[in-house]
Structure formats: C-alpha cells, structure tokens
C-alpha cells in the first residue's frame, strides 16, 4: 500500500509539470493581459501600465516567467496574486473550506439518491417505474446544474422558503450560537448542494444502472438464484460487490472534478468557493492565482484517487496486486 502511495505521489510531479505548462501557455496565448482592461481608462497612462507590468515581471519573455514561477513552487511558494497583490495561498485557503464543504455535501446527496435508484432501475429494468427513473435521470442530467440552481433560487423566492440566497453564512453568523450556526449553514448550503447533487446523481444513476445490469447478467448470479439464495442477498452480496469497483474509481475522480466543475453554479448561487475565484482569475488574467488553483486542484485529485485506491483495496483485494 505504501509503495502504491509513493508511486502515486511520484506521478504527481510530471502530471503537475505538464498541467502547469499547458495552463501557462493557454493563458499566454489568450488575448489580453492582466492590465489591458485598466488601460481602457483614458486617464491611466502607459507609464503606469508599464510600471505595473514590471512589478509582476510581465515584461519578461514567456519562458522566463514560467521558470520564475517554477522556481517559486520548488521553494514552497505559490507567489503573489496579481489582482489581490497578496500571497496566492492565503487567497486560496480562504475559499478552500467552502469548496470542500459543498463538494462533500453534494456528493453525499448525489450518492444517497443515486445508489438506491440506480440499483432499483437495474433490478426492475422492465418495470415502467424503473424506466421512468432512467428517462428522468437522462433529462435531469442533461440540464446543467447552474440552470437548476437558478430555478431553485427562483422557487425559493416565489414561495418565500426559509432559504438564504448568496454566501455560505449570514452576516451575523459570528454572533450566533452553535445550533443556530448549523441551521444557518444549512439554509445557505441547500440550494447549491441540491443543484450540484441532482445533476451528479442523474449521471450516477445511469452509470450505476449500467454496471449493475452487467453484473446481474453474470453466470454467478444465475447460479446464486438457481441455488435459491434470497434475492436481496443476491443483489447485496453478489451483484453490488462486483459492480462496486468502477463506482469507487468514479468517486475518487469526482473529488478533483468538483473543484472546477462547480464554478458557474458557484457564481449563480454566490457560493464563495474556489471555482468562482479561479473563474474570476482566468477572466482577469491573474496567472499566478490560476496556477496556484491548478496545483490545489491537482492535489485534490491525487488525494481523491488515493482515497479511492485505499477503499478499493479494502473492497477488492485484487486491486493491491500490481
């Protein structure tokens, strides 16, 4: 297990190098620069723009800028954000908790919905209700989560539901007692988590159904049923156990995906997460912040994969033999 962990961590280095290089080049190739919008102000002089570019080393050749950045990273520094003029890691860590919370809750929501429904849809695939589940999940999954978020927001306002719009906490959160704090968090979390979780669930249902159908057609299932093993036992002990491996892999990959995939939903619901921050950083050409976010996202992906691997090793002993 520890060998595997080391192996994963070692792979992280070239992966990151490749990711950062591609990201850096794309940001350089995209039109505009950190201070080009500032130049639209007729009052701001070219001298000032030049001084600002010099401050962040933007006048240097691209390869030099990339090497500078790499040098920082090797020395454990993520550098200064161009738009915030402060260390990147402070900017990122101020948003990190919110992103993790949203990812955790929406994933939990998605799996607790998708697992029973996906298994049900596979188990009773010829029933009308199971087909309805499959069709519905197709429709729900086809609509992007930010559209759901806008819809939920609209419903919440029209029906005057006790849900909060925007932010992760209320203004007076710091003065609330513990039970009230949890309630406050839930009021803020529900809409973005539901919007993200719903679409995630819809896709998972189809995936779980497909893998389950596959498993249910295996010979050992027929054998088990033929031996007179109770049906719930067949599903739980035989079908699920064998279908579960790809589910765990997907779960690990989702960890990294949630960081970037939630940006638009975060923007719509005003959720103060990393996705929104990085989207903003891309728009303002804050390359330092984007690259810092990329590293964080990469780290999350690696951690997610590691966790998945560990779980996989417990569920399926074959997975350790490589």
């Amino acid at each position: 297990m520890s060998r595997r962990l080391l192996y994963r961590l070692l792979w992280f280095v070239p992966t990151l190098l490749g990711m950062s290089l591609v990201c850096f080049l794309i940001m350089q190739l995209s039109p505009g620069e950190a201070f080009s919008e500032l130049g639209m102000d007729p009052v701001v002089s070219d001298t000032t723009i030049a001084a600002l570019r010099f401050q962040y080393g933007l006048e240097q050749p691209v390869w030099q800028q990339y090497l500078n950045w790499l040098y920082q990273v090797v020395h454990g520094e993520l550098g200064n954000s161009i738009s915030y003029n402060m260390p990147v890691w402070i900017v990122i860590s101020s948003r990190m908790g919110n992103t993790l919370l949203l990812a955790l809750v929406s994933t939990l929501l998605a799996w607790s919905l998708a697992l029973p429904l996906g298994i049900y849809a596979a188990r009773y695939s010829f029933r009308l209700s199971a087909q309805a589940v499959t069709t519905l999940s197709g429709i729900v999954g086809a609509i992007p989560s930010f559209v759901w978020a806008l819809g939920f927001l609209f419903i919440a306002v029209r029906l005057s539901l006790p849900l909060s719009i925007g932010g992760a906490t209320s203004v007076d959160y710091a003065w609330l007692a513990w039970p009230a704090r949890i309630w406050d968090r839930m009021q803020h979390l529900l809409i973005p988590a539901a919007a993200l979780g719903l679409v995630q669930a819809a896709r998972l249902i189809r995936f779980i159904r497909a893998t389950m159908l596959d498993a249910l057609q295996q010979d050992y299932i027929t054998t088990a049923r033929g031996k007179g093993v109770p049906e719930t036992w067949v599903i739980r002990r035989h079908a699920c156990r064998n279908a579960a491996n790809p589910w765990i892999t997907i779960l690990g990959m989702e960890m990294g995906g949630l960081l970037s995939g939630a940006a638009v939903t975060e923007a719509v619901t005003g959720w103060p997460g990393l996705g929104l921050l990085l989207l903003d950083a891309v728009n303002t050409h804050d390359s330092q912040l984007v690259l810092g976010g990329l590293i964080t996202g990469g780290a999350m992906l690696v951690v997610g994969n590691l966790l998945a691997d560990t779980v996989l090793a417990i569920v399926d002993p074959r997975a350790t033999c490589d």
Partner: protein, 555 residues
C-alpha cells in the same frame, strides 16, 4: 439636544450638511456588489469594487457633490490660488480624527503624496496628479496648511484633489521598508484599516460580504447639529450574478438594487407589494458608439477614402435608428446621445451640437452627393465603382451590443452597404483598438466616470492612447483634429469656469460635426430602494450611495 453631546465639540470645524430630510440614528443598509474588493489599500486599488468600498473609508481634501458634481470642501475646509493659478493653498479642517483617534494633519497629506509619487508603489492615482507629465510640487506650510506649486495653471486641479489621504502614523514604516504596496491587503484584519471616512471596516468574509460600522467621530453634522452618518452599519454583499441580485432584492436580502431596462416593467408592477420605490437616476454617463478606422497605416483603399470622408460618416450617422435601439436593447429606457459629453454630466454637455435624426432618405441623398450610387443590384458603389463593404466588430457576450450592432447593420444594408458583422472576444477587441490594426468599423463603449472633461483628453486629443479612429499619431492628421488638440490645451489651463465651458462646447461641436465616432444612446439608470430608507437620491454620476451619510432608516 442641540450640541449637548460632548463628542460634537471635538471636531473644531465640522461640515454642515444641509438640504436633506432630518434623519435619525440606527439601522443597517445592505447592498450587493458585482465583484469583491481585491485590496484594502486605497493607493494601489485599481478596480471599482475596491475603490467603491474604500470610498466609505478614505477621503480626499475635496469631494464631488453627487447631485451637482460640484467640488466641495472635505478634509480641506477651504483653499485659495494665486493670481497666475500656479500656487494653491489648502487649509485642513481642524480636529478631524482617524478612526483610531489620532488627529489628521498636513503631515498625512504630504506622506500620501510621497507614496503616490514613489516608483515602488505603482498606482493609477498618480496619473491624475501630473501636470504636463510632471508631478506637482507640494510642501507643508504648517500643521494644517499644504501648498502646491504647478508648472503652469491647471484647471482640473480641484478635481484632482480628491485623491485619498492615508494615515502616516500607521503606514510610514511599511513605506520606508518598501513594502507599502503589499500592506493592507484583504487578508489584513479589517479593524487595522484606518481612514477618516463615515464608515470603518469591521468584518470581511472572503467571497461573501464586508461589514462597515459607523464612525462616531465623523466630521459632518446635520442642520440640528447631530453627528453624521445616521446608519449604524453598511453591509456589502458580493453577488457576481445580476439575476441573483434581483432575486435577492425581491426576497429582502438587499435594500438597494440597480434595475436593468428590461426588468423595469416587472419591478415597477411589484413595487407597492414589495415595499420599495424606483428612482430615475438619469441617463448613464457611459457611452456607446460606432467608429470608423481612419488610420492610413492599417486601413486599405478604397475603405480608407470612405472612412475619412466626413459626408460618408454623416450619412451613416443619419442611418442609426436610436428609437429602435432604445426599444430593442434597453427596453425603451434610454436617451439619444449627440455630444461627446454625456447628458449625465449636466452643464458640461453641449445641448446645441449638430444632430443626426434617423432618416435613410437623407443618408441616401448625402451619399449621392458624395459620389456614391446604388446600382440596379441594390448595392452601393463609390465613384470608382468599388462595392461598399466592410466588417463591423463588437464584443461578443454583451447581448445589448449585439442587438445594437444588428440594428445598425440592418439599416446600413438598406443603404446598399455590405456589412459583415463579427463579434469578437473583448480583450481581442481592445487589443485591436489600441493598435489600430485589423478593424474597419467598431461598436464600442466607454464608461463615463469623472465630470472633468480634461480626463477625456486621452480620447479626443490626436496623440491620445484612446484616440481610437486614428491611434498612434504624434501629430494631428486633419485641421479639425488640430483644433480639438488646441482646445484641450487651452481648456486645461483656463481657470474661469464660463470660458472653460465655451472651450469644451466648441470641441463637442467639432466632434459632432465631423462624427469620427457616432454616438448611439445612453441607458436610463433606475434604482430600486426600500420605502423605509430616507434621503435616497441616486444619480448616475454619484451612484446610489453618494450621500450615504444622510441616508437613514425610518423604522
């Protein structure tokens, strides 16, 4: 009650704020911002989210009245200038306190200027304090007096004196160590950010909101002698999405909301039920215009000969249907713009410039006079027989601009011009505008900002970096551009307001006559505010909170 509290006596020279309804203390005002502040350091702040927020915390020697746009005393109670307009003396209001209780003195003003002119602290404030590219000279006369010496008279001097004053006692060490630009970022505890303004920072939650508390020792009083501001707390919430802001307002989560033209009907019909009123803040000070590239280095013949032809541009100006644009792109809520100084700038705007009412027959007649003719195939040709065809670019992603571009292109096609419409990424468009290369006709917008006409010299002077129709020239390319340059030169050194206005009126007449840019319409700004708020008076120049110190909660 009058002057009964001991606290009022501390500011020796408070500023009396008149003309508003008598308010009362207490209450919280919550508003939404589209972006969040990027820094708490007012000197290096570059975007409006930071400057808007810090506008409540830091103040200048003078301030601009949000309604009349006139310059009024602020941290300086009075000023005078020498006969030749070169030496200005400002007298500070005595007894003004920083939020930490230390008194504001001339040393703070001198320190702030030292910082602004320091090359290690790149900032955009400096550009407003340059006269002919040189920093103005300044010195401390005594504890409460500062003197400025200019190389020549400078009419925008008073406007420039709005630069924010920073506390020397808290920042001088950081400045000496060369780290001032990195000081007071958004990671700094808000209570450490100290200004003189009506509100002080009290709480900041990244990505969510910032809370400001009332400054109990503020230097403004109402006519009853009550210390301003009235409201206890301001809460600024960061909500990136305009639709979400609208929902938030309807839900009661924010108290003031800038209504978009298309939403006006819906908001108006629900106003009494929702307990709010809609205020008309007047036309927006920003501009939206069409320009033809007249740059001989980048535009080929025959296009160049058309674009540099005044009659051609005037014909196009007559083909811009401002009524259709107002209805289709702004929900019927916009006013036509003719002079380059927007109507929002009041008396600055010349009401008598040449206008080009929508009239395709007139366009056709002008084109015919200029040697263009429409053939049997319905296509317009110039006197050499070239088909009139060009590309119209604007930024993709702005629905309004795309609608406006479509309307204009449609009318130009009716005149027989072959117009190709090409939406472009905004930064790409800006790059092309700066370089002058790769564009023929552009639909572009610029935000309005300051009422000081000299601040727009960068657009109208022929050597300006935003002189978009013919960018990158050291010398004026036409006689009328030479005249505009001359007018801007004289305008900057003319101290008398009346003669100064006449100068800029003439510049507006020339531009309207030559139409290097064809203005479209200025959107009407509507602001919805809850009924319990008193003294709400939004203006397009000052925004909704220009008079924040007198806004109060009636409940």
């Amino acid at each position: 009650m009058l002057f009964s509290s001991g606290a009022t006596a501390e500011v020796k020279e408070p500023k009396l704020v008149r003309g508003w309804e008598q308010g009362k203390y207490g209450g919280t005002l919550t508003i939404a911002m589209l972006a969040e502040p990027k820094t708490f350091n007012r000197i290096i702040a570059k975007e409006t989210a930071s400057t808007d927020l810090l506008g409540f915390v830091f103040e200048g020697l003078v301030e601009s009245n949000g309604v009349t746009a006139e310059i009024e005393p602020a941290l300086a109670k009075s000023w005078e200038y020498s006969k030749d307009g070169k030496v200005w003396t400002f007298h500070l209001r005595q007894g003004v306190q920083w939020h930490d209780g230390v008194e504001l003195t001339a040393a703070d003003v001198i320190f702030t200027l030292d910082v602004i002119f320091d090359d290690r602290v790149p900032n955009v404030i400096k550009d407003l304090l340059l006269v002919d590219g040189c920093p103005l000279r300044y010195r401390q006369v005594d504890k409460y007096t500062v003197e400025f010496t200019l190389p020549k008279p400078f009419a925008p001097m008073l406007q420039s004196m709005q630069f924010p004053i920073m506390p020397k006692h808290l920042l001088v060490d950081a400045w000496r160590n060369g780290v001032l630009a990195q000081t007071w970022h958004v990671g700094t505890p808000p209570a450490k950010i100290v200004g003189t303004g009506p509100y002080k920072l009290s709480q900041y939650v990244p990505g969510q909101h910032v809370v400001l508390q009332r400054n109990a020792n503020y230097w403004k009083v109402d006519s009853k002698g009550m210390r301003l501001p009235y409201l206890d707390r301001l809460v600024l919430r960061f909500v990136e999405n305009k639709d979400t802001q609208a929902l938030l307002f309807l839900q009661g989560g924010i108290d003031i909301y800038t209504v978009r033209g298309a939403e006006y009907g819906r908001f108006q019909s629900e106003a009494s039920k929702g307990g709010y009123r809609i205020f008309n803040a007047g036309p927006d000070s920003g501009t939206l215009f069409l320009a033809f590239n007249q740059n001989s280095r980048f535009v080929q013949q025959p296009q160049l000969s058309w674009f540099t032809n005044q009659r051609f541009r005037q014909a196009v100006a007559h083909a811009v249907d401002k009524v259709a644009i107002t209805n289709a792109a702004f929900g019927g809520h916009a006013v036509p713009q003719w002079a380059f100084e927007s109507v929002a700038k009041g008396l600055q705007s010349n009401p008598h410039v040449r206008q080009y009412p929508y009239d395709l027959h007139k366009s056709q007649a002008i084109l015919q006079e200029a040697g263009f003719s429409k053939g049997a195939d319905g296509l317009l040709r110039d006197n050499q027989g070239h088909k009139v065809e060009f590309t119209l670019v604007t930024n993709a992603g702005s629905k309004q601009r795309e609608v406006v571009a479509a309307i204009i292109a449609e009318d130009l096609r009716k005149l027989g011009m072959q117009v190709t419409y090409a939406p472009l990424d905004f930064s790409l468009l800006v790059n092309r505008m700066y370089s002058g290369a790769d564009w023929q006709c552009m639909l572009m917008g610029l935000s309005g900002g300051s009422p000081e006409p000299n601040n727009e010299a960068g657009i109208w002077r022929s050597d300006g970096k935003l002189h978009l129709w013919n960018v990158g020239n050291a010398q004026p390319q036409t006689a009328w551009e030479a005249r505009v340059d001359e007018l801007f030169d004289t305008g900057a050194v003319t101290m008398d307001p009346q003669s100064r206005r006449r100068i800029y009126y003439e510049a507006q007449e020339i531009i309207a006559d030559q139409v290097p840019v064809i203005f479209t319409v200025a959107q009407t700004v509507y602001v919805a505010a809850r009924n319990h708020l008193g003294n709400v008076k939004p203006t397009s120049l000052g925004g909704s909170l220009h008079n924040v110190e007198v806004i109060f909660d009636r409940r």
